[in-house]
Subunit: 193 residues, 2 copies
């Protein structure tokens, strides 16, 4: 039997963390501080060390965390969760949205890099980078080599390294706790059936 | 208000088309024939011209079609729908699956290219290619230049051009019907807020 509905449950604590965040979300640093806070809170609850937020016209549209381990969906990276929630909030306008800013506590992987292109993101703000993620054992996957330039060519501005040290600390703590590194598939001669 | 659940509804006709498909799914051509059939049936119902299927150990695990227009989720490409349904069917084993074969009526875009890396796909079988999709106005987005080699380095085998003419005909028919080309965002100086 295959599912007639695919359901991704968003834990209630995600929006509680947002509501309890006292710093006004007026600039990139404050917005990234919230995004990193989400990544840290997710680790505390057994999730992967990644958070994401989406802003439009200066307002927070949606927040997300990595839900891969809880949901069993490999797609459920923080950025995807945040973008899908933003699109749910936008309703009819979701495929023709106002300019979106996507915040990622760690630079997007190959999947989220591709997904943000179709979501109407015009600005991507990153905390930790690929080297930071790989240093703790995560794999960011194959993005185009000049990925920042590739996005620029599509009118998507990338800001790197905002609160990088804070974002990286969450990754390091995850490793120190023995957090699970998922999404690794060894090269094999098995060809899939 | 942001959603506490993200729900992607799978139309009942998808599995009805699968059930009604009389050709035994014994080889790549037969499996692609079903995948292309799904893409065609989706167009007939107002959806995008893309279908996808996932096989494991010789058995069909899940089928998907592009649900972007119906759901408002830009992520809801056929491959994502099929992979998420396959993971739902696998349950506990979804993050450590048997070797999966992903069939795509058109070569995956940048998003689905990235997503399949994390899903445990070991073999990717494509019908139409990027040039075919671009010829009707779709944008496949920025994949690594040598994307087939990049996947091979990760142990993922790519077969291209299986029933390409049939798959391409669905794209061409979609264009002839005036089907909507979505996911285009003109380069702009607007930076997202």
């Amino acid at each position: 039997m295959t599912a007639s509905q695919l359901v991704l449950e968003i834990p209630a604590w995600v929006d509680e963390v947002v509501a309890a965040f006292s710093q006004p979300l007026v600039d990139d640093e404050a917005r990234m501080a919230l995004t990193v806070r989400l990544s840290r809170e997710n680790v505390a609850r057994g999730g992967g060390p990644f958070g994401s937020t989406v802003f439009a016209e200066g307002r927070l549209l949606a927040a997300g965390v990595n839900l891969v381990l809880g949901s069993g969906f490999s797609i459920a990276h923080a950025e995807i969760v945040a973008l899908m929630r933003a699109q749910a909030a936008l309703g009819e306008a979701s495929l023709n949205p106002p300019p979106l800013a996507l915040f990622a506590s760690t630079e997007p992987c190959c999947q989220c890099f591709g997904a943000l292109v179709w979501a109407g993101v015009r600005r991507l703000v990153c905390g930790a980078n690929t080297a930071d993620a790989e240093a703790v054992g995560f794999d960011e996957g194959p993005k185009p080599e000049a990925w920042v330039r590739v996005l620029a060519q599509r009118g998507i501005v990338v800001e790197e390294g905002v609160l990088r040290a804070d974002a990286r600390a969450v990754l390091t703590d995850y490793l120190a706790r023995g957090g699970r590194i998922y999404g690794k598939f060894p090269p094999s001669s098995s060809s899939g059936g």
